[in-house]
């Protein structure tokens, strides 16, 4: 890891995550700098989402620390943790919209709970956030009435509702067509540039992560730990680890030992 040019907003030290006895990832050490687009990448099933759940306060780690500034997320008491978590916005893989609320209410609920704004003001802010993600006028639809891609965008709008310091995205482009995925990438960059929000993106979508990533960590499924950290484009070209280069070039840098005969 090079000397930090800017302060780390989130620091992960010796983090191990597990489900019961089943170890998912261990010995993770990396930092996320302010206003970066930080990519958590790795092959399917390597535990990217699980690591994100530990970063966002949903899954207590088996070992190690997650520092927000100087505060340890997991040794803080419940009220402190809730306060730290509220500075994060999270967009879930499936959108995770509250299905019994309209899109407008989904975006408005955090505001309703944590601000003293009037219902009218909340509606206006929710409508503005929906417009930001390209869903102007969809306030009164229910999540089941819009497409999967729209649900994801509402998920982004809701994650942004409280103007968080850090936005987490779990597989933003999964299940989207290339154009929609590209729009979502552009949205992430525009929001970062416009609001200065730090973006943490969990993904294995190469085109996307190479296009938007400033910094990244690569998690490996077999060794159950991180193999590299740094700018994804640098990693692709210069990473000493062949597995990382292979991943970032769709396996072209290091052909697997036995590619299999062409099928007839």
């Amino acid at each position: 890891m090079s000397a930090p040019a800017r302060e780390f907003q989130v620091q992960v030290e010796g983090l191990s995550v597990a489900y019961g006895d089943f170890l998912v990832q261990q010995d993770l050490n990396f930092g996320i700098r302010r206003s970066d687009v930080f990519i958590v990448m790795g092959p399917s099933g390597c535990g990217k989402t699980t690591v994100m759940r530990s970063l966002t306060g949903l899954l207590p780690p088996a070992a190690g620390r997650v520092l927000y500034g100087t505060e340890d997320l997991w040794t803080a008491n419940e009220a402190e943790r809730a306060r730290l978590m509220r500075r994060n916005g999270v967009m879930y893989q499936s959108g995770a919209l509250w299905s019994s609320l309209t899109l407008g209410e989904n975006v408005g609920l955090p505001l309703e709970q944590y601000t003293d704004l009037s219902p009218r003001q909340i509606r206006d802010i929710a409508a503005y956030k929906l417009a930001l993600v390209g869903l102007k006028g969809f306030d009164d639809f229910y999540p089941s009435q819009v497409s999967g891609g729209m649900q994801k965008r509402v998920g982004v709008a809701r994650a942004m509702a409280l103007d968080p310091d850090i936005l987490y995205f779990d597989e933003p482009s999964a299940g989207l067509d290339p154009i929609s995925a590209r729009h979502l990438d552009d949205l992430i960059l525009q929001l970062r540039d416009g609001l200065g929000t730090t973006m943490v993106v969990v993904t294995h979508e190469l085109a996307s992560l190479l296009a938007i990533g400033d910094d990244a960590v690569f998690l490996d499924a077999e060794t159950k730990t991180m193999l590299a950290t740094g700018n994804p484009r640098d990693l692709r070209d210069h990473c000493p680890d062949a597995r990382v280069r292979g991943f970032l070039t769709r396996g072209e840098a290091t052909p697997p030992p036995d590619p299999g005969a062409p099928l007839q």
Partner: protein, 394 residues
């Protein structure tokens, strides 16, 4: 072994089906040859791999190498490839070098592909299957664990109630009203019907027995007391367990599956305050109210039978009922009802919150919510009866 591949080396339009065949020859030098012939497609009955294992074990002399001959093969699909994977496993188990040169090229490619990725089964959670004692032990441990979970949940509910009383709990008033409406007003029709019929059944059974003593009028006492003290609350609670408790488990369980509960947590909203508290309050408030209504319907049902079958007049019946029932009886029923309501809400929400992340898990959560609720309602009914007796309420 010649590498003569059959003309047809890939799945294509099926020619006239020929029965798939398997034959094992062993030369005196110990070279075993497996002849595969006919059409190997999954739609047909294919030879079992165990037959080959038996043939290999029975072969004399014991084979030292295995080659494959596919000259008789006319057509194949995954049925053949899966069989060959089994053959390869057998060969590895018996330390037999296997010569695959006789296979069609396509099959060789597919076999290589199937073995290209190392077996990750080590990463799968494995279940240990022990004997009867192990089963009993793990069931017992499961029971202890689930009791612990219920206690933990009750503790969280208590903390959540404390936050509510201090005005720190975050919940939406709209959610509370919606829960009250769903658990209360919308349950009226079904509660009416069930209570009315239970009242009729009690009266009918009672009338027949009491007629033998010429004490028909006491049907009113029987129905009135039974309904007010116990049956009204029980019937209401069981209807609510099936109707509302199941709905809570399914709703919260589905929210778990869709990560909606996680989304609440990351906002710093406690699912206990936000999801469980309104439902719990709604049921604790609505169950006694519904019970009063259920008592009334039960008495009316009894009166109908008393008048039609027992030959009593309506005034007579209602006067007798009024004389029989005291406030102490009504209070017993209402206190029981509050407990039952809390039990239904806690079971429904508990199973919903414990729900795993699949559609099947939602089904299990719903079933479990109803079963838990009914078991605890019956236990509570027994305990409360003893307590009320000790207090001199009855």
């Amino acid at each position: 072994m010649a590498t003569a591949a059959p003309d047809q080396t890939g799945p294509g339009p099926a020619p006239a089906a020929v029965v798939p065949s398997m034959r094992l020859d062993t030369t005196a030098a110990g070279l075993a040859t497996l002849h595969l012939g006919g059409t190997w497609r999954v739609g047909q009955s294919l030879p079992e791999i165990d037959d080959l294992a038996r043939n290999l074990d029975a072969a004399t002399p014991t084979p030292t190498a295995l080659t494959l001959d596919c000259t008789g093969l006319t057509d194949w699909d995954s049925g053949l490839v899966a069989y060959l994977l089994g053959v390869r496993d057998l060969a590895i188990q018996r330390d037999l070098p296997m010569d695959e040169a006789g296979l069609p090229d396509g099959v060789r490619g597919l076999l290589r592909l199937a073995n290209a990725v190392p077996d990750r089964s080590g990463g799968k959670p494995t279940a240990f299957h022990g004997g009867f004692l192990h089963e009993v032990g793990s069931e017992a441990l499961g029971l202890v664990r689930s009791t612990g979970e219920i206690m933990e949940f009750l503790g969280e509910v208590a903390l959540s109630l404390r936050r509510l009383i201090r005005g720190q709990a975050r919940l939406r008033r709209a959610d509370l009203w919606l829960a009250i409406q769903e658990a209360g007003a919308q349950a009226l029709p079904i509660v009416s019907m069930v209570s009315f019929l239970v009242g009729m059944i009690l009266a009918y059974v009672g009338a027949q027995q009491l007629a033998k003593f010429g004490a028909r009028i006491f049907v009113a006492d029987l129905v009135g007391l039974a309904t007010v003290i116990q049956m009204g609350a029980l019937v209401t609670a069981i209807v609510l367990a099936g109707r509302t408790g199941a709905a809570y488990a399914a709703h919260i369980g589905t929210m778990q599956v869709n990560e909606e509960v996680d989304a609440l947590r990351t906002l710093g909203l406690s699912p206990m305050d936000f999801l469980v508290l309104p439902r719990m309050l709604a049921l604790v408030l609505m169950t006694p109210l519904l019970t009063v209504y259920s008592d009334l319907m039960g008495i009316l049902g009894g009166a109908l039978v008393g008048v039609l079958v027992g030959g009593l007049s309506l005034t007579e019946y209602l006067n007798e009922t009024q004389a029989a029932i005291g406030w102490n009886h009504i209070i017993q029923g209402l206190i029981s009802a509050s407990f039952y309501g809390a039990i239904v809400a806690v079971s429904g929400c508990l199973r919903g919150m414990q729900c795993g992340r699949s559609a099947a898990a939602v089904g299990e959560a719903t079933t479990s919510a109803v079963v838990t609720a009914i078991v605890f309602i019956v236990i509570a009914a027994a305990v409360l009866t003893v307590v009320f007796n000790a207090m001199g309420l009855s």
